[in-house]
Symmetry: C2
């Protein structure tokens, strides 16, 4: 593999995944990953542009940012690209009235949306809300539509909380796709539109940007398909087998965000 | 389409699906489908051999047969091919110790099986038991195994109860397959081994047998792939679009089991 200097040359913008990179979530709000608070601070003091690009769909942006600020992170709502507000815009543009299978924490992002007489289903990481009854209700709504529309906020397989691995929305999206014989529209990583909107918001071209994430497929593979570079951190849901993934090879593997920022500050801004 | 006489010639054995053909399940035990009690009785009085071939995995065979007998059906445990006892045999043969994600009603079928220190996951139609917690537990067991084995009792998309359509085990099987990046082993329709065991139990060759079911893919398509003929009833989960299914064409469509039995008694036994 080429030296870091070559791999990081010309990077002007950094996209940071949140869960598994900044912190591990959990029942009590979770805990920051060692070194990440300082790493974000150093990055923001540098000449590099920073944007947080998350698939978090259990919490509103406000709630997520509040939680991270309490953990010491320098982050504000305007710096976060999140799937719920992006979905809310899409629903308005297309005149869609969703049946929402989402966590209560994110419902406020859909406050302005008409949910009467639904003509689509929106599914997000509902956590405990993924009861049989709630899934069956969403399924029945879809089966009653002539042209069923299912929008999924991300399609992650799982994420890591302090208590261990947790099933993510992608698993439940697959369940509804199979039961209804349909294909969902994904808003969030690894959708190219989603990465591109984050790039646009930070004013950086894909070839000048690098993604840092713990998900070899959703973060690394997705960003690379958009022409970005991508590093995988060995925190969060990282598993050693990711480094031998049959389809995706990161531009580099680092122990954690702190190491990634060390390397970026050393090589990218020259 | 050929005349019924030609389509049913040479049939010696009839495989009957249960849910959606004999009865629609429901919270109060469900209700027999009009004409089905008499149709089963007439079939059993004929020269045709009969076997019940179900993917029911919420109830033990004993419980299912008890419920059907109370509704007036002439049926006994020995006449039923069901996935739970078949799975129990497989587990014993292969020395597998399952983590069971199943309905309490079917747990007795696994009474003789060692479930300590699990080295596989068995998933059945758990109904309300498909909570997020239970799904996450099964997911974590699989992720901790070096070679994850997932056995699914059927892979139905949905079935019909008196209250409406209900998500079936297949949707949850797909969720775990996706989350873990694995493929489940299916015990039940449309697995060829499963149909063949039912044929063997009734002592009839595939070309002499006909399946009657409400599931165009699991019943009709599965039976046809084994060399049987198959009729779809317009009861249970049947939907008009099934008659234009892009991949599966039944050997005939009938309004209900009563009509199927009328035709069989008229044409098959000549």
């Amino acid at each position: 593999m080429a030296a870091w200097g070559k791999r990081l040359a010309g990077v002007r913008g950094v996209l940071l995944d949140i869960s598994g990179v900044l912190y591990d979530g959990g029942e009590d709000g979770g805990a920051p990953i060692r070194g990440s608070v300082e790493a974000v601070a150093r990055l923001k003091q540098s000449r590099l542009k920073v944007r947080f690009c998350t698939n978090e769909s259990q919490k509103s942006r406000q709630e997520l940012v509040g939680l991270l600020r309490r953990q010491g992170f320098d982050i504000s709502e305007g710096e976060v690209t999140a799937p719920a507000p992006a979905t809310s815009l899409i629903l308005k543009e297309r005149g869609l009235r969703p049946h929402l299978l989402v966590h209560d924490g994110v419902r406020s992002e859909f406050g302005q949306i008409d949910t009467s007489n639904p003509n689509c289903v929106v599914i997000a990481d509902a956590g405990e809300g993924f009861s049989y009854q709630n899934m069956n209700k969403a399924f029945r709504v879809l089966m009653e539509l002539e042209k069923p529309v299912l929008i999924s906020l991300g399609k992650g397989r799982y994420y890591k909380e302090t208590s261990g691995l947790m099933l993510d929305v992608g698993a439940y999206m697959k369940a509804l796709e199979y039961a209804c014989g349909i294909e969902a529209e994904v808003v969030g990583k690894p959708s190219p539109e989603y990465f591109q909107s984050a790039l646009k918001e930070m004013g950086v071209e894909a070839h000048e940007a690098i993604m840092i994430g713990d998900d070899i497929v959703g973060d690394v593979g997705g960003a690379q398909r958009c022409g970005m570079r991508a590093l995988q951190v060995r925190t969060g849901k990282f598993r050693p087998s990711d480094e031998q993934h049959p389809e995706v090879k990161a531009d580099g593997y680092v122990d954690n965000l702190a190491e990634a920022v060390d390397l970026l500050l050393q090589h990218a801004t020259k």
